[in-house]
């Protein structure tokens, strides 16, 4: 089975600006794939190239194995849900949804049936005669979705489709979108700058920065094992520590503390490791450190109460650590000034490649 969308060596230059820099990527059939990155990273340009609104400066872009890099949008079997929804204000909901089929010259009866089915699917059949202006934000979002899905595209492209909605609605739409995608089985390519959104919905995520695709992974791997500082930092909170490689199983921090970590770096090399705040456990310095875990000793310099958890800032010779501890009776609490041991499992250590 060929990939739904396959980009190889795709670049896009706007005059002197390199918006997308040599991206290669294969999105599988039926996959929910997210392009994640800050604004200006090239994710939207990538999406627009798949849609056909921009032509790549170089590279190959295949949809279902067919080369389409230079095909205009109306000749591509993909549909887009726009950030602003782009519903035609002069047409009714029904006309909006039926527009693609009309342009494809599908016969009238079939258009009616399919439009009705699409509207049912998004539970808005009762608003068929309304104008987009008369709909709420969430309803417009659904119509935009229906307008794209009614054409049964090979790939559905979504450009920050939830960006204009408020938080509550956004969260419920996330679940709705994911369920919809499972139901229709269409490949989704979803552009967002919201890491939580990407983690929640995606099968795989591609993180972009400055036109480059830095890492493509499933959400869990991406979160647990970011390969670069940018990815580590962009997705969630993380502690970055410098250390020196002693041998293939040991590293040494500033101040002389040693820890076990398997690395492929050569001895004596300086490396950066990343550890998520919630991967740490805190113990009193009077306690014996847990067996098989690395430890760093330090002083609590700040404690922030977050209801269901605490954030501690711990100063250690290796650097300052941010530690997240659950607020449970079985978890010991510390005060500012306490001497503590921060422990973590060797497998929770990730080496940065840059």
């Amino acid at each position: 089975m060929s990939a739904a969308v396959e980009l190889s060596g795709v670049s896009k230059h706007f005059d002197d600006i390199v918006a997308v820099d040599d991206i290669s990527l294969a999105v599988g059939d039926g996959e929910f794939f997210s392009l994640l990155g800050p604004s200006g990273c090239g994710k939207t340009t990538t999406l627009r190239m798949i849609a056909g609104f921009e032509f790549p400066t170089s590279g190959s872009l295949r949809i279902r194995g067919r080369e389409m890099a230079l095909l205009p949008p109306n000749e591509r079997p993909v549909n887009t849900v726009f950030q602003s929804y782009a519903l035609f204000p002069h047409m009714s909901v029904e006309q909006n949804v039926g527009f693609g089929l009309l342009m494809k010259k599908v016969n009238k009866d079939e258009i009616n049936t399919r439009v009705k089915r699409a509207l049912d699917q998004v539970q808005l059949a009762h608003r068929a005669d309304a104008r987009p202006k008369q709909l709420s934000g969430g309803q417009r979002q659904r119509i935009a979705l229906a307008r794209a899905l009614v054409n049964e595209p090979e790939v559905l492209l979504l450009d920050e489709p939830l960006g204009a909605l408020d938080l509550k609605l956004r969260q419920s739409m996330q679940i709705e979108l994911k369920e919809l995608q499972d139901r229709v089985g269409i490949t989704f390519i979803y552009v967002t700058h919201d890491q939580q959104e990407a983690l929640t919905m995606s099968d795989r995520i591609g993180v972009m920065s400055a036109g480059k695709l830095l890492q493509v992974d499933d959400p869990q791997n991406l979160y647990e094992h970011p390969r670069s500082r940018f990815v580590a930092d962009f997705i969630g909170e993380i502690n970055l520590l410098e250390a020196k490689v002693i041998d293939s199983e040991t590293i040494e921090f500033a101040g002389g503390s040693r820890a076990s970590a398997e690395s492929e770096a050569s001895n004596g090399e300086t490396v950066t490791i990343a550890i998520r705040p919630e991967r740490f456990g805190l113990h009193g310095s009077d306690e014996s450190p847990p067996v098989g875990r690395n430890t760093l000793e330090g002083t609590v310099v700040r404690r922030i109460y977050h209801g269901d958890f605490f954030f501690y800032d711990v100063d250690t010779p290796a650097g300052s650590l941010e530690v997240k501890e659950e607020n449970r009776p079985s978890v010991r609490q510390f005060e500012v000034g306490d001497r503590v041991l921060a422990s973590w499992s060797p497998v929770a250590t990730t080496f940065m490649e840059d």
């Binding site: 949008p73 726009f82 035609f88 002069h90």
Partner: protein, 279 residues
């Protein structure tokens, strides 16, 4: 506006007084003209009694009717052509990038800022030269030269009005149409054109008004028998005030007001609809 609900300050009173004076200034002459046009007296200044006499005479007056016919022909031709060309210009300037575009842009703005008199001189010398060169073809000044001249200055006004609207249009609407399998022409016909229609109508109204208003350019390029109504009236007015001109003037004024009213109603109906998809 909170300013409006505060107790009336002296400044507020002055502002209101000024506003009413200005409106009085704007409308008093029109009202006087309207009243006098119904005056049944050969002498404008002396009121005798209310009558439609001068309106009746106007319709009997061959030169007036002929000039009116000429005006309508010229206005229809120039409005149609300049609306089409002006809209195309707006689309080309706002939606495409091509070589020489900035120069074209400048050329489009020129007729807007050029004084009537200069435009008139230009067209006169141009047609005179052209006819001299093509002497034998029997071309001469007339409704043709008037229409061509009116189009020349109307294209720009239409283009500017339509372009402003195009600029406000959410570009993703046109992309959405292309995404939904509409080719360029269908995108224009089904999405762009309906959304800029109020501006196209506004531009057409402007072109129509400009054509029906023009005296200077027309009087330079008109030939024998091709006088338009404003030029004919202008000629009469220079000689003096007559009750007949009052009646003709009122008809012209009423015509423009009807046009404005139609356009306002039209804009109101469309105005309720948002330009972009996400109002």
């Amino acid at each position: 506006m909170s300013v409006g609900v505060r107790p009336k300050s002296p400044t507020e009173r002055l502002l209101a007084a000024n506003a009413w004076l200005v409106f009085a200034f704007l409308y008093a002459p029109i009202v006087v003209l309207a009243v006098f046009s119904f005056n049944d007296n050969n002498n404008v200044g002396i009121w005798t009694e209310f009558s439609f006499r001068w309106y009746g005479e106007m319709f009997q007056n061959a030169p007036v009717m002929n000039a009116l016919k000429n005006s309508l022909i010229v206005a229809a031709v120039s409005t149609t052509v300049s609306t089409v060309l002006g809209t195309a210009t707006a689309v080309a300037l706002e939606r495409y990038r091509f070589r020489g575009q900035r120069l074209f842009d400048g050329l489009v703005y020129m007729p807007v800022i050029i004084p009537d008199v200069t435009m008139a001189v230009m067209m006169l010398l141009f047609f005179a030269s052209a006819f001299r060169m093509t002497g034998g073809f029997g071309l001469s000044f007339g409704l043709g030269t008037i229409s061509l001249s009116h189009i020349a200055f109307s294209i720009s006004f239409v283009a500017i009005v339509v372009r402003a609207r195009l600029g406000q249009l959410d570009p993703s609407l046109e992309e959405a149409a292309a995404d939904l399998y509409a080719g360029r022409w269908m995108t224009f016909r089904k999405v762009t054109l309906p959304l800029i229609a109020p501006a196209v109508a506004g531009g057409a109204l402007l072109a129509l008004t400009l054509s029906l208003d023009d005296v200077v350019v027309t009087s330079f390029v008109a030939g024998p028998g091709s006088t338009t109504l404003p030029v004919y009236v202008f000629g009469l007015v220079r000689r003096g005030v007559t009750p007949l001109i009052n009646a003709v003037s009122m008809v012209m004024l009423t015509a423009s007001m009807v046009l404005v009213a139609v356009s306002l109603v039209f804009q109101r109906e469309r105005g309720g609809r948002s330009v972009s998809g996400d109002a």
